[in-house]
């Protein structure tokens, strides 16, 4: 009796250590690969910002800049040094969050990006919710009715999502729902009359107005938000439904489905509890990718809806050929993308024991 307890006390830490070692090693490896990817990202933005433009200074200060400004920026970019040194200094600046100044606002690019980012989040989050809450059930429905009309409708609907230009759908939506029917409010985030009424807490107007108890402002913001975020939501729905369908089909082919059905479990339970339980880890990765796709769609959607977010900021910076802001925005989106991928990978290893033991 005492021997067994002694044994178990000796074994316990090693068992615990063994259990934790796999994930720790995995996370460390992941951190390494994330760092490498980040380094590559800075390489790419360095090439975009400094190497490709024939005259990077003009690309940043514009053509109307005076000689002194030009010379100052020339020095600031270290263009008088060799290229590897330029990259090293560039990397150091990036790590300090220094993306240079924006031509449009004359503020540092990073503070601009952070200023405009909440508007993009406000647009992308409801879209993601729509995509996940409708996309997954529709995908499951399509898979369980393979080849019949629900499947055909979902497949064709998601194919449309892959084919319709998002800016065109936005314009058509504005034309019909705003100009002709007047069901929703038009471009912009909120009517001018409601501007600056609520104090900024989260940067999301809908949330801030609820906190402040300004329900009129809230409904106005919702009425502006609903069309652009539903349109973006449709695109994530198309992707999520398509992936769910194909994951689900591969699950339904497995023998355990047949076995559980044969044992008398209800088909509903088999599909929604057992099969869905097996694919939701894969779906986490899909959802992370969807969010990245939303940021991409936001550039065009924000342009169409004059939505003052990251995408519109980048588009307006493009218009005045402000490369600092464009590269900064690209960098921010790239970093978000990498972090999301890493997080989904971590979730994957935490939830799926097979991913821990592999390799």
């Amino acid at each position: 009796m005492s021997a067994t307890t002694a044994e178990s006390t000796i074994e316990a830490p090693s068992g615990w250590a063994r259990r934790i070692a796999g994930p720790v090693r995995h996370v460390l490896g992941l951190a390494g690969s994330v760092a490498l990817t980040f380094l590559g990202l800075t390489c790419v933005t360095f090439v975009i910002g400094r190497v490709i433009p024939i005259d990077p200074v003009t690309a940043i200060v514009g053509e109307k800049a005076s000689r002194t400004v030009y010379d100052r920026v020339f020095k600031e970019l270290y263009l008088d040094r060799p290229i590897y040194e330029q990259y090293w200094l560039y990397l150091r600046k990036m790590l300090h969050g220094d993306f240079g100044n924006s031509l449009l606002t004359a503020h540092p690019v990073l503070s601009d990006l952070l200023h405009f980012f909440p508007a993009t989040i406000e647009l992308a989050l409801p879209a993601l919710v729509i995509g996940v809450c409708l996309g997954i059930p529709l995908g499951v429905l399509a898979a369980t009715n393979r080849g019949r009309w629900p499947d055909q409708i979902v497949r064709f609907g998601s194919l449309l999502g892959y084919s319709i230009p998002v800016f065109w759908l936005g314009l058509v939506g504005l034309l019909i729902l705003y100009a002709k029917l007047g069901w929703v409010d038009g471009p912009g985030r909120i009517d001018d009359a409601f501007d600056d009424i609520v104090p900024t807490v989260t940067g999301l107007i809908t949330v801030d107005s609820l906190i402040a108890g300004e329900y009129e402002t809230f409904w106005n913001a919702v009425s502006h938000l609903i069309l652009p975020s539903s349109i973006l939501g449709y695109y994530s729905l198309a992707y999520v439904a398509r992936m769910t369908r194909s994951f689900m089909l591969s699950q339904l082919r497995q023998e355990y489905v047949l076995a559980t059905l044969a044992k008398g479990l209800s088909p509903f339970r088999v599909v929604w509890i057992h099969a869905l339980g097996n694919i939701w880890v894969q779906l986490v990765t899909v959802i992370a990718l969807t969010f990245g796709g939303l940021l991409e769609g936001a550039v065009l959607t924000e342009t169409v809806f004059a939505w003052p977010g990251l995408g519109l900021f980048m588009k307006n910076s493009l218009f005045v050929a402000d490369l600092n802001a464009v590269v900064g925005g690209t960098m921010l989106i790239g970093v978000i993308y990498i972090v999301l991928n890493m997080l989904s990978d971590v979730v994957y290893t935490m939830v799926d024991p097979r991913a821990r033991t592999r390799k």
């Binding site: 990817t37 975009i48 493009l318 990498i338």
Partner: protein, 309 residues
Amino acid sequence: MSGSPLRTGAPSGWRFWLLDPAPASRGQARLGRWYRAWLAFRRNGLAMTGLIIVAALVLAAIFAPILADHELAFHQVLEERLQDLSWLHPFGTDELGRDIYARVIFGSRVTLTIVGLVSIIVVPVGLAIGLPSGYFGGWIDAVLMRITDIFLAFPRLVLALAFAASLGPGIENAVIAISLTAWPPYARLARAETITRRNAEFIEAAQLQGASSLRILFTQIVPLCLPSVIIRLTLDMSGIILTAAGLGFLGLGAQPPMPEWGAMVSTGRQFLIDQWWVATIPGTAIFIVSLGFNLLGDGLRDVADSRSA
């Protein structure tokens, strides 16, 4: 139109020859395989719709000067600006009095040029990265795949936008920017296909005969990769078209007076409420063409899947 030949009773001469279960020559076997794939493809209505749309795009691009008046597409007639749809101008006119129907038809040339050039660049680049990566493995694989991952770490439109912003506006630069962002999936695909085949016996046989790695890659592996690469390319076409149109919409693609569909939508935005056709009709063209490529690609994939299954 008669559907499957199995239902039409005794197949006539050339069909019988094509469907012969015991082909006499390698050529007959190959043609027969293609013919069977075509029969499977033809039964898929959506895929046929896709094929027809894509064929229509190609024909419109080739015969643009016959289908539409070049003069109407490019010549500005300010008295006729923003005309409503009519017999003379089936899709109305734009803010400079140019016929939108003619511009959409000539715009098909721009779209086809972009997708054509991008595919010519992207497939060889993807193969050049993916084949050695899969064939040699080891550190070559690690380095090449790390580079591929970095490019995959960006949303595509954003990266293309940054490249196009840095290269400057214009159709050539749009092609370069899109290509720079579109090659990674091909590298991944070529790598995966190579890995499944590199230990096959026919590769070993070639190695024993003293064939160089380069020769094996080009004569043995590339031909086997191509079908899946082509299917992937067809499915990717709509993404390429949408990215190109997005860049045009943001003012980074083809420059005026070139009739690029995305740029046409962008100029039409200011007249959206009163002259809806200026923005929506070129957008419809983008939508139909990209849908066509998606339907075609889906159909091709189904045929390929049923063959391998």
